[in-house]
Symmetry: D2
Subunit: 380 residues, 4 copies
Amino acid sequence: MPELGIGLIGSKFMGRAHSNAWMSAHRFFDLPRTPAMRIVSARNADDLARFASRWGWERTTTDWRDLIANPAIDLVDVTTPNHLHAEQSIAALEAGQHVACEKPLAGTLADARQMAEAASASSAQTFVWYSYRRVPALGLAHRLIADGRLGRLYHVRAAYLQGWGGADTPLVWRFDAAQAGSGALGDLGAHIVDLARFLTGDEIVEVTGAIEERFIQDRALPEDPSRRVASSVDDAVLFLGRFAGGAVASFEATRLATGVKNSNRIEIHGELGALAFDFTRMNELRVWDASTPAGEAGWTTIQTTHHDHPWCASYWPDGHGLGYEHTFVNQAADIVRVLGGEKPEVPLPDFADAYITQRVLEAVVTAARRRGPVALEEIT
Amino acid sequence: MPELGIGLIGSKFMGRAHSNAWMSAHRFFDLPRTPAMRIVSARNADDLARFASRWGWERTTTDWRDLIANPAIDLVDVTTPNHLHAEQSIAALEAGQHVACEKPLAGTLADARQMAEAASASSAQTFVWYSYRRVPALGLAHRLIADGRLGRLYHVRAAYLQGWGGADTPLVWRFDAAQAGSGALGDLGAHIVDLARFLTGDEIVEVTGAIEERFIQDRALPEDPSRRVASSVDDAVLFLGRFAGGAVASFEATRLATGVKNSNRIEIHGELGALAFDFTRMNELRVWDASTPAGEAGWTTIQTTHHDHPWCASYWPDGHGLGYEHTFVNQAADIVRVLGGEKPEVPLPDFADAYITQRVLEAVVTAARRRGPVALEEIT
Amino acid sequence: MPELGIGLIGSKFMGRAHSNAWMSAHRFFDLPRTPAMRIVSARNADDLARFASRWGWERTTTDWRDLIANPAIDLVDVTTPNHLHAEQSIAALEAGQHVACEKPLAGTLADARQMAEAASASSAQTFVWYSYRRVPALGLAHRLIADGRLGRLYHVRAAYLQGWGGADTPLVWRFDAAQAGSGALGDLGAHIVDLARFLTGDEIVEVTGAIEERFIQDRALPEDPSRRVASSVDDAVLFLGRFAGGAVASFEATRLATGVKNSNRIEIHGELGALAFDFTRMNELRVWDASTPAGEAGWTTIQTTHHDHPWCASYWPDGHGLGYEHTFVNQAADIVRVLGGEKPEVPLPDFADAYITQRVLEAVVTAARRRGPVALEEIT
Amino acid sequence: MPELGIGLIGSKFMGRAHSNAWMSAHRFFDLPRTPAMRIVSARNADDLARFASRWGWERTTTDWRDLIANPAIDLVDVTTPNHLHAEQSIAALEAGQHVACEKPLAGTLADARQMAEAASASSAQTFVWYSYRRVPALGLAHRLIADGRLGRLYHVRAAYLQGWGGADTPLVWRFDAAQAGSGALGDLGAHIVDLARFLTGDEIVEVTGAIEERFIQDRALPEDPSRRVASSVDDAVLFLGRFAGGAVASFEATRLATGVKNSNRIEIHGELGALAFDFTRMNELRVWDASTPAGEAGWTTIQTTHHDHPWCASYWPDGHGLGYEHTFVNQAADIVRVLGGEKPEVPLPDFADAYITQRVLEAVVTAARRRGPVALEEIT
């Protein structure tokens, strides 16, 4: 089996999740190429050496430009803060590399547009790590809707709730607009916009109304907790929208949902059925089939741990659940399949696709500031 | 114990629920006055006789004006369609009667305003049957927030979902704007607006954005299913808003949430805690206390069937749950307490209070049509 | 509609629940006869007068023998402590009255046998208030199994858990073997034995092993908490058994399940499906249908609030749940149906049926003391 | 960091799970020694080569005796069918190797006794893969009980339910008593006996009653489905028992719980609190604290994904759940800690400990056949 040389940029939370994915994917899945963990790049050489040793990267560099230029690399994996995505991804594309970039595509719409254009101009392939698409329950949900099991869609209710962003939380990079672009919107809202588009197979054509709110105005500096500095991003975003096919939708993303750890939820109601998901119970999909006789109808909780469910046959016997990290393992496997000429389990988002999500996010910001509806076609 | 003469107008779904409440309240509760089911009024004399006999009403009349004029009556209970609320309630007030009116206060803002003015001009007392306030779990939620247990409120997420309004559902009066005023908005949205106001103890000052949607354009006539006639109300309403105290909020009301029978849900997140409720499991309140050490923190499901919980000591031993109808029994009991000079378990909405809810509903309609924010103070 | 004269003996918890049932049944249900609340009997004349006035009983007597002799009575309803069931029920039968007796049939097997014999010798009809049979979810479960939807039954898991019986709980009559016969066994175990028999339509033929345990040896006297007196009943009972049809079963009944209010649970697994119920969520039945394709199979939570579900059409629109008390209203309605020549919604237990349950309870006690299996046929 | 040479015997389900654990443990955890995947042994050379390549084992052998004799090995990991555990483990111990053996310790009590004796005679360390101890929720449960948070224990309810063993399931080795020793008892019952002992910190002193049942008498041969051969193990086992400290307990293990995939459940009630767990939702522990005021008391669902929870700090940010495989990764990490002179997160079972569990399983078989109680001290 030919190898696929991976070069990773970034060694924080996502760098770790991706490293584990590249280490694990070919153990569980039968893949057309074997990911080889060639080079990892980050700024701090000491930390980087430990990171590389721990995760089995063959080499390190503190200059990501070396990495993308290295002929041993076939795929550049970008896990840096959002404001670096464009420069690194575009350079990698120009170097002829395939690129897998963490979500959101970029911190700004302009960056995202350039990335989509660079991808379009390149013969390389691009991927964006909207990895929740690869939760087995959501892969199943995608298939059910694609098979017409919900019929005409009426209503989408999506919320990504976290509660860690209280006044005591220091000013990490995620609260700095210059690095992150936005707060809950790009961090969490991006996921639910992508997810709603992925599941429905439809596009959001209007953001009808939006609230962007910062509850916590300043936060302590991590390096000097006695100093509080202005937080420059949204803590919560709420918006309403419409899909091309006629469905209405509500979206909420917040880091101030006290008591909620990591609840990426979506409920979709259609003419023939409905489904509901909450990442808090990631191995479950709840489904309603409107064709069941009323006296026996109910919400069926499918434990999505059966070998018939997407990705599951590659892991353990039926009934043994997966965890958060496997969404990345599944995505790594699907990326390798695509680069090896095979089909992914469900569609993978590329830069063009993620640019649409980015346009929706921009429409949300615009709607919140304009205090009025924004058509997606206004945002280019 | 002195009696309290009740006169009921209307004998459909709500007439039945109220009859049961007046029959039961003084059996379970120790009340300062005993409700006496004196007169019931409705248009069809035959049906009415059967109804009165079944529920134990002493007399009947097909003319509601006779009822309000009868000196045996102390309280007029209005359960007719929304467009009749104003005329009947105002006449009753002018006749010196106390009035308990079904929600929403009226089908139109003008009607509601007149009712509030009439109530203000009268020395009689008014009540509105926003009976979900009297679910024990929500009474407890009200107390917890009033006691400051959630601290500063950040976010309110309210949805009243039903799924019965598909294309096969005939054109009953609830789909006729002339009788109902609105669709999901007045029927379901009114409940969640009242509930959010009741629980937070705060007022909605802005409807920031709104969608009002009719998915089903025409429906079969009940009396002649071969004829389909235009439906004139909203099937679903979604809106975003802001509270005076700074909290942001989302609201959704729909009759097209396929698979959902009757889910009146609310989640509230504050600085010090959070709570969540779903009427589908009406005997449960989920609570998060942010002061719990992180390693032991979790959502606590309080089974609100303990004698310490509001209204529960009057029913059965701990652990024996109540049903839908008891929200009405509880409200009947609280109305009698107030009319007997005692305090209700938690605040009862009067016409002035329900008029504020009505203004919010009008703001929603206005925001949806204007396609922009509406301040509550604009709506008078 | 002819009346059915009811005479009630006892005015405590069950007297109250039955009064409410007799008051309500004909309001909700269309019945062949109208229950008339004629006479209530209890020992304390003052309390009794208040009770009768509150619940609408026409007359009172402190001598239950007067009640059963009164020609205005058609049905004697016995809600006294267990040791009085036999004397009162048998006297009523001998007086030609129909009898509805609270569960368990009696405090001792000898009493129960005499009651069954008296019922057999009488032309009157007997009923036992195993009212959990009349939870809509359990009525539905009974029908599904009777329709063969679970196929051959493999395994029954029944538990009735309560947690109120800690060391601080005083010595009420339920802890006195002379009055109650037994503790958790007769109080809670009786329910799950009846329920397992009702749902499976099968008989327990062997109690294979049993534990009867008293954790709290003495308890404070209610009238003088400074004195602690020996508790003489079991706090918890566990037993294993076999059904005639081959299914195996576990049963547990306890008042020391700390943290559990009132959880009457049962799970049944068969060749073709399975079902699960917990009274804590009484308006839900969970069902598994083994014929569903594996990738879509799951536990379906049926919200048993649809007009197709047993008893539900007589209450509220779909989706509006019932409470604890409605199991009694449903049973009152079914008793009146039977006495009026109609069929009950699902089978009602009579004295002969309840005597079988009593024999199982005796087999449990015998197995616990013998420390070995007991065949039901040994117990007569 | 010094390496720890691992030799694995067996390459089926458990061989895979252990390989993943040895590959991953030191990536996530900071360990005193680094596991080195030196040699894997299995019978089929072709399959073995693929397995070794896939999981990164350095060498292979079809003779496990070579493996245990190899000086590059420090720890022999045994994942073969139960009837091979004794021979392989004892030989490894005699070769001076540390041994980690899959559960149950052995297929027969005699084998288990010999293993415990060999472990006692050796200076090497032994471990048994009762890996459910290393679910974070159960690690937390262990700590809560060890800290006295439940007080005196009253009642343990343990069940390990699976539903895959219907009549259509072919006769794999798990249905052959010669290879497996027993059916549901050793496969599933062993887990819940170990878990109950681990959580309570107490010992089962009596099996009071037991049922061992084979529902499916014969099964198709996997290699020739047209031939059905006698199944020689139990499909379901139920038993009651008593702990030294006075708690009573029920246990059930079955492969015929239709509709249940893999539900390892336990509920424990004590004087001061209670807890409940179901592996179906492995990232949750439900806890009741009896000291909470009654009006606010409830079952708290702790999402055991916080860095304060056992093992969790080594994985992802708070709120990101683990999967089935991580119980093995956690155990691998704890084994390495112990062999490196550090403490495990919670106690690890060794052969002496697992021999006690095996004696309980034997007592169950004895009680079922004797049809009467068996004291644990009878079984040696």
